[in-house]
């Protein structure tokens, strides 16, 4: 098997200047005393990707994912180390990057495709396919500056995927766009995969990684935390997230190895007033989540943690059995933990419930993420995230 992308000991340093000087006067005035902080966005990252493989890159915001993609695609040069790419690479870091607003859609297709490395003859051959994929037949001769953001994005993606590179690098561009378009993009990516093209992509959606990736690379503060099978790497990623979020000041496991699994969590179950009749909750309804567990040895320092996140990963709520004053001791065997919320004052949206079992130091023993997912359907007209109780009273002006 040939290596498609070889990331060899790549480090990238950024200098964060407190104040950026780019005029001659400022440079002279501040010569030698412009304080900056060195920041290593990537540190000695090494891994390789074989041809045809699909690799997901996960990590929290600021962990160096985008920097890594930029180093691989050649937008940034690593401070140390090197990246060797075999074959043509197309990077999709931002849909429609490089579009010229003054030019028409047609002209932009040619310009953008050649930026991504496609020859004119090939563009001509694929022109109709690109336009059809973008669904822009009517508007292709309009100036791009009159396009809506959706049209702009569709055109960007259509060009990029029709370049048919050997290596496709995708940043979180798929998170934008309507559901229909996202679905179409995923379909195209899978087709790419089936054609034996190498794909590297950054995503926050764990489901996407599980769905299509052979392996995942986990980055944490610029360092490679784990490389491995998608499921296992994701697991480590979540453990790390949980471990750092649970108890402040606690040392996360230094080598990133999963802790010995003394307690295993089973399949969670969810109940709400509409269970059986409708698949969603209404704002303010109660919810309970039950998770069976099995203790493989007697335990006396176990904490159950529950967290609710929205689809952007924003933490809405997090608590645990220790905070609620329920230290737990148990003999060997099976049990069940129930988390009940009397009322969820949430407006419309989809939410993930994450459940974990940790020890008192915050070290994760097992985690279910998401344990369950629920939707809230907002029948009213108010918008936002929280279902606040609101009364409005209008006092009309008194005439005379």
């Amino acid at each position: 098997m040939n290596t498609a992308v070889d990331v060899d000991d790549v480090s990238k340093r950024f200098r964060l200047y407190h104040q950026k000087y780019s005029s001659l006067k400022e440079r002279v005035l501040h010569a030698g005393n412009n304080p900056f902080e060195e920041f290593w966005a990537l540190q000695e990252v090494t891994f390789d990707v074989v041809e045809g493989e699909t690799v997901g890159i996960v990590g929290r915001n600021g962990s160096g994912k985008s920097t890594l993609l930029k180093c691989i695609s050649g937008i940034l040069q690593p401070t140390k180390g090197k990246v060797v790419v075999r074959g043509q690479l197309a990077a999709l870091l931002e849909l429609g990057a490089g579009f010229q607003p003054e030019l028409s859609g047609r002209e932009n297709i040619f310009l953008n495709a050649s930026l991504l490395g496609l020859s004119t003859r090939e563009v001509e051959k694929r022109f109709d396919a690109i336009v059809a994929f973008a669904e822009l037949e009517q508007f292709i001769d309009n100036q791009v500056k009159y396009y809506s953001s959706g049209m702009y994005m569709r055109l960007g993606f259509a060009v990029a995927v029709n370049v048919e590179p050997d290596v496709l690098v995708i940043d979180e561009v798929l998170a934008v766009g309507d559901e229909n378009f996202q679905h179409k993009c995923m379909g195209r990516i899978k087709q790419f995969q089936a054609e034996g093209r190498t794909i590297l992509f950054v995503t926050h959606a764990a489901e996407q990684v599980r769905e299509i990736c052979d392996r995942a690379v986990v980055l944490e503060a610029g360092q490679l935390l784990a490389v491995g099978g998608a499921a296992e790497a994701l697991h480590q990623y979540h453990e790390r997230l949980m471990a750092q979020g649970t108890i402040s000041g606690s040392e996360p496991s230094p080598d990133g190895q999963p802790a010995l699994r003394r307690v295993r969590l089973g399949e969670p179950n969810m109940e709400h007033p509409g269970t059986g009749s409708r698949p969603y909750l209404l704002p303010g309804e109660p919810l309970s989540v039950q998770v069976p567990f099995e203790a493989l040895e007697p335990v006396n320092d176990v904490v159950f943690v529950v967290a609710i996140r929205d689809q952007q990963g924003t933490l809405l709520f997090k608590s645990d059995t220790l905070s609620s004053g329920q230290p737990f001791e148990a003999p060997l065997g099976a049990g069940r933990v129930d988390f009940s919320f009397d009322a969820l004052p949430l407006l419309g949206g989809t939410y993930d419930v994450e459940i974990a079992v940790t020890d008192h130091s915050g070290m994760v023993i097992d985690v279910k993420d998401p344990a369950v997912r629920f939707d809230v359907m907002n029948p009213g007209r108010s918008t936002g995230a929280v279902a606040l109780q609101m009364r409005a009273e209008i006092r009309p002006p008194i005439l005379g």
Binding site: E53, T54, K82, L93, E107, R197, P292, E294
Partner: protein
């Protein structure tokens, strides 16, 4: 609700077993097959991204994206005259109008005594505009395309080179105007030595490319560059034999001076050190050529024939070649500087 331990155990096992890596993902054809498919697409080029990429690799990369060059040149031209009523005509109208202003001034108000002054100046302005347009647009080529530089990977030099490419296209159209002038004045070029024209053009293009590549990189770090360039270019134009006659204003006046005991005429090389002088004089020799002085007089002995120097054809050819050769050497240097500075472009912009 299930409480069976078997299921619980099975669930954790799945997570553990996939640690081996490369295990089949459901619904996806297996990796080995995909690898074969990839290999079947034939040999692939290898690209290295590192802090230093050597010059041959950079040049190879530029050659690989030569079509992009064409598109960027096209873009540059289209965007420049988009939404203007006369559009592309401006590229010809602009120098014609500038020229008429100079014509009126230096024929009626400050007569400089150059016969057929329009042709004399136009010969110089043709090459000057090529250089000036290249450098002004080239300097802001990287900073002006910040969005592209931050998001798309391609050899960055090509943006500066595309500025030169666009300037060459404008040159061609302005040259057509020149042809109209020559026909209108019934003033044929000096046919036997017309082959010097491409040589002079090449020299100016090479020098413009050098300046554009160098300045585009410097401007990323020092935004003063773009303002400084405008002033320097303004002064530079007056240092060229476009408004005044070379023989009368430069050569003969130098003869009146001595510097550290060296006769002024021996210092004429200082004037020729300006890489634009020789090509511009070549163009004037070809298209202006008062009295058609096909010279047999030895080089470096200019005589006053009113306007032009009486250098031999060989002198023009070798001077242009020297400018070209020096520009190519400097271009290599500019590419190296560009390569050093390029690494931080995406951060600096």
């Amino acid at each position: 609700m299930t409480e069976t331990t078997a299921e619980v155990a099975a669930d954790t096992d799945v997570a553990d077993s996939s640690a081996a890596g490369g295990t089949a993902t459901p619904g996806v054809i297996d990796l080995a097959t995909r690898g074969e498919l990839a290999a079947a697409r034939g040999p692939k080029t290898t690209r290295v991204v590192a802090a230093r990429v050597n010059l041959p690799q950079r040049v190879a990369e530029l050659w690989r994206v030569r079509e992009l060059f064409v598109f960027l040149v096209r873009k540059e031209i289209k965007v420049k005259y988009k939404n203007s009523f006369l559009g592309f005509l401006w590229s010809m109208l602009n120098p014609a109008l500038t020229l008429s202003v100079f014509y009126v001034i230096f024929t009626f108000f400050l007569p400089n005594g150059i016969p057929n002054f329009v042709l004399y100046m136009f010969s110089a302005v043709l090459l000057w505009n090529l250089f000036q347009t290249s450098v002004i647009t080239g300097t802001v080529a990287v900073t002006g395309n910040a969005g592209l530089v931050r998001k798309v990977a391609f050899p960055r030099e090509i943006m500066a080179l595309a500025s030169v490419g666009a300037a060459v296209v404008f040159f061609v159209f302005q040259f057509l105007v020149m042809v109209l002038f020559l026909v209108g004045f019934v003033h044929p070029p000096d046919w036997p030595v017309l082959w010097l024209a491409p040589l002079a053009l090449l020299a100016v293009v090479a020098f413009s490319a050098t300046m554009s590549v160098f300045l585009s990189a410097v401007n990323v770090y020092l935004r003063d560059t773009q303002h400084l360039v405008e002033v320097v270019l303004f002064a530079w134009f007056w240092a060229l034999p476009g408004i005044y006659a070379f023989s009368g204003a430069v050569h003969n006046k130098l003869a009146n001076h001595r510097l550290f005991g060296i006769p002024g005429t021996h210092l004429i090389w200082v004037y020729f050190a300006d890489p634009l002088v020789a090509p511009i004089m070549t163009f004037q020799r070809l298209f202006y050529n008062v009295n058609h002085p096909i010279s047999t007089i030895a080089p470096h002995k200019p005589i006053l024939n009113g306007v032009l120097a009486h250098y031999s054809t060989l002198w023009y050819a070798s001077s242009d070649l020297v400018v070209f050769a020096v520009s190519i050497v400097l271009l290599v240097g500019a590419m190296l500087v560009f390569g050093r500075l390029e690494g931080n472009f995406a951060e600096e912009l």
